[in-house]
């Protein structure tokens, strides 16, 4: 703001370098005649005649100012020709002063009573409550522009200083404005002195600073951060109020020296403080660190960002630091890291368990009357890992069990449920049950023993003797049968496992031919957001048709290659079975 004001003054300046005097020059145009003061029957104060009269004539630049200032208050200047020169003189002085200050002359009525003050000079940074700045304040009258001032302690002080010549300080002056768009209440500290028959007054606005301090305090409180300053030469230490709060210290006990502060630091972190001290000794760069500090009965995590100022010899003079209590944040971050570590651990364990239960086999399983390829793709999303399974096993009586399934849930719980389910199905299959009997029993078992587990499964029993497949699927997508390049769904659905204790399942049956392919899978392969699962099934069928139409030599490999997961977030399980000619060994039953 200050820079802008100065630049504005400079840019305006044609003859003189500063804004106030320049306004006097600019007023030659008569561009901004002020109406207020002209209506007042003004009489100059006694001091005006003491101004140096020769100034306007000795400086070519100022000579042009005279008629300009006269246009601001022509009546006043004609009554006292020396006043203009005084105003120019005072303005030249104010032009080089920082802060808010102006010089005003009293205006008197015919009886000699002061009725107003006319501002004839102002510092470049001077700003009033209306936002007028610097040169814009020249020509402004107190009564006209700030009528609420009349009669206030400020007004009284103005009158006293004119009368007595004794300077006054006024703090906590409350200014009230009724103009729209202007702060209704504001407070000021002012200094008023008599100068050259007028009043020189400087002011600072207190409410802005108070609001700034309140905002700063709120920021410190919300961020649980404070600041401190340690002067290493004078020993002076200043702590913000929040710094006392962070350290549970009574402000009446005063701040801590750096040495005393070090005694509160956890012994393991003392080295951190020592390293920081070395940094401050040699570098002006801010240095950040975190230490544990004893506060009350416990330890707080304190993060510090501090920097040192040095003298010419490089000795540190003062250390200024911003200090934040990050205990809660640290605790949350640590908890989160622990939770993530545990999750990763469980994830690794689950994947390992999956691999133990279903070892990855890249080569197809070769069984009597069929070849089987299987692929298990663990979920990328932890939330899904661990529930999918497949099983292919020679039952030893010329039959083969083929099954895939899915346990809702994830992690070790799902993986262990999956393992139990898979073994139960295998056991029931070895006991000679058909798929419908297997799933009916399994459903009852789940409802009774694990009501928390929901599962789906497709179970098939292939008899190599007559190439008959008997199957059922409980809450599970149907398998596909590929004969040549034609794809069919083998539908014989039942309800999912573990919900309805009275559920019963029946088997479908189909006679297969050599080179037929059976495609079994879990829903991750066909499920995708915004899509009907059956659309996914159709897409998979199309891909299979495409792959099998050219009559590839290895139909099994071609089918496996054609089917890719559509949803990497979920577990996917794919098992493709190719019916082969029954070998002599496998065919001994039939």
């Amino acid at each position: 703001m200050r820079k802008d004001t100065i630049l504005k003054s400079g840019n305006d300046s044609g003859v003189l370098p500063y804004g106030g005097a320049n306004l006097l020059a600019r007023a030659v145009d008569g561009a901004h005649p002020r109406e207020g003061p002209e209506r007042l029957p003004a009489a100059a104060g006694p001091g005006f005649s003491t101004a140096a009269p020769g100034l306007s004539t000795t400086d070519p630049g100022l000579s042009t100012a005279d008629p300009g200032l006269s246009s601001v208050a022509p009546g006043l200047f004609s009554a006292d020709p020396g006043l203009c020169a005084v105003a120019v003189n005072v303005q030249a002085m104010l032009d080089v002063m920082p802060g808010c200050a102006s010089w005003a002359v009293p205006l008197r009525d015919e009886s000699g009573t002061i009725v107003d003050f006319l501002h004839l000079a102002a510092t470049p940074e001077a700003e009033d409550i209306h936002g007028r700045r610097g040169a814009d304040l020249v020509g402004v009258s107190t009564r006209q522009t700030y009528p609420s001032v009349v009669g206030t302690p400020l007004w009284q002080a103005f009158l006293r200083v004119v009368e007595t010549g004794t300077s006054e300080c006024l703090s906590g002056y409350e200014h009230v404005e009724d103009t729209d768009g202007v702060p209704h209440r504001s407070s000021y500290s002012l200094r008023i002195a008599r100068l050259a028959g007028g009043l020189l007054n400087s002011w600072t606005r207190d409410d802005v600073g108070q609001r700034f301090e309140a905002r700063l305090a709120r920021t410190e409180r919300l961020g649980n951060l404070g600041w401190g300053r340690w002067n290493l030469v004078t020993g002076e230490i200043v702590w913000s109020s929040q710094l006392y709060l962070i350290h549970g210290r009574d402000p009446a006990d005063g701040p801590l020296t750096l040495e005393d502060y070090s005694t509160l630091v956890h012994p393991d972190d003392v080295a951190v403080i020592e390293r920081a001290t070395e940094m401050w000794a040699r570098s002006p760069e801010p240095h950040e660190f975190e230490v544990r500090v004893r506060v009350g009965g416990g330890l707080r995590n304190i993060r510090v960002s501090a920097e040192a100022t040095h003298d010419a010899a490089g000795r540190p003079l003062e250390i200024y630091g911003v200090v934040q209590d990050v205990t809660d944040w640290r605790r949350t971050a640590d908890d989160l890291a622990t939770a993530n570590r545990l999750l990763e651990e469980e994830n690794r364990l689950t994947a390992h368990l999956q691999n133990i239960i279903m070892p990855v086999q890249t080569e197809p399983y070769v069984l009597p009357g069929l070849r089987v390829s299987a692929r298990y793709q663990p979920a990328e999303t932890v939330a899904y890992l661990g529930g999918d399974w497949y099983q292919v096993i020679d039952l030893g009586d010329g039959d083969v069990l083929l099954a895939v399934g899915d346990v809702a849930g994830h992690g070790l719980a799902a993986a262990s449920a999956m393992a139990k389910l898979r073994h139960a199905i295998t056991g029931l299959a070895f006991a000679g049950h058909d798929p419908a009997q297997i799933l009916t029993a399994l459903n009852r078992l789940l409802c009774r023993l694990r009501p928390d587990v929901l599962a789906t499964a497709l179970v098939a029993r292939y008899s190599t003797a007559d190439r008959t497949l008997r199957w059922t699927h409980a809450g599970h997508p149907p398998m596909l049968l590929a004969r040549g390049a034609r794809i069919e769904r083998l539908l014989h659905p039942g309800v999912l496992l573990g919900v309805f204790e009275d559920a019963a399942y029946t088997c479908g049956a189909v006679r297969l031919r050599p080179d037929d392919l059976l495609v079994m899978f879990t829903d991750g392969l066909i499920e995708r957001r915004g899509r009907d699962i059956y659309e996914g099934l159709d897409l998979m069928s199309d891909a299979l048709t495409e792959a099998l139409r050219p009559s590839p030599t290895d139909r099994l490999a071609a089918a496996m290659e054609a089917i890719v997961p559509g949803n990497e977030t979920d577990d996917t399980c794919l098992m493709v079975t190719q019916i082969t000619e029954v070998t002599a060994r496998a065919g001994r039953r039939g």
């Binding site: 809450g475 309800v495 999912l496 499920e527 957001r529 915004g530 699962i533 979920d570």
Partner: protein, 125 residues
Amino acid sequence: MSDLHLETSEAELSATDGGTAGVVVINGAFDHALHAPASLFLDEVFAAFGPYLILDLSGLDLLDSRAVGLIVTCWRRATDQDGWFALVGAERGATRILWITGLATRIPIFATVKDALDAQPPRDH
């Protein structure tokens, strides 16, 4: 009874009083990410409306197996307390899993909430 509402980045759940049953509408993706917040939400729904609920799924574009588990839990909870539970809008693509799992053959399904309310058996109390 006040309405309940829950919004996540991927889904929106609301529950209103249908007169004789609470009507829960779930829009968006009903998947593993919604599992925990939806469980809590449905607890509140049961507390507010009792075991008489209609679940409107017509605004779903994903319904995964975890969500199926939650629907089963709701159905069990309502029927265990001698209440009534029905689904609406389960003929659409995203809810196909309800048919594949066979739940659609066991849980009553209606085209609209009004149809469901009309078909609701009289409450004992």
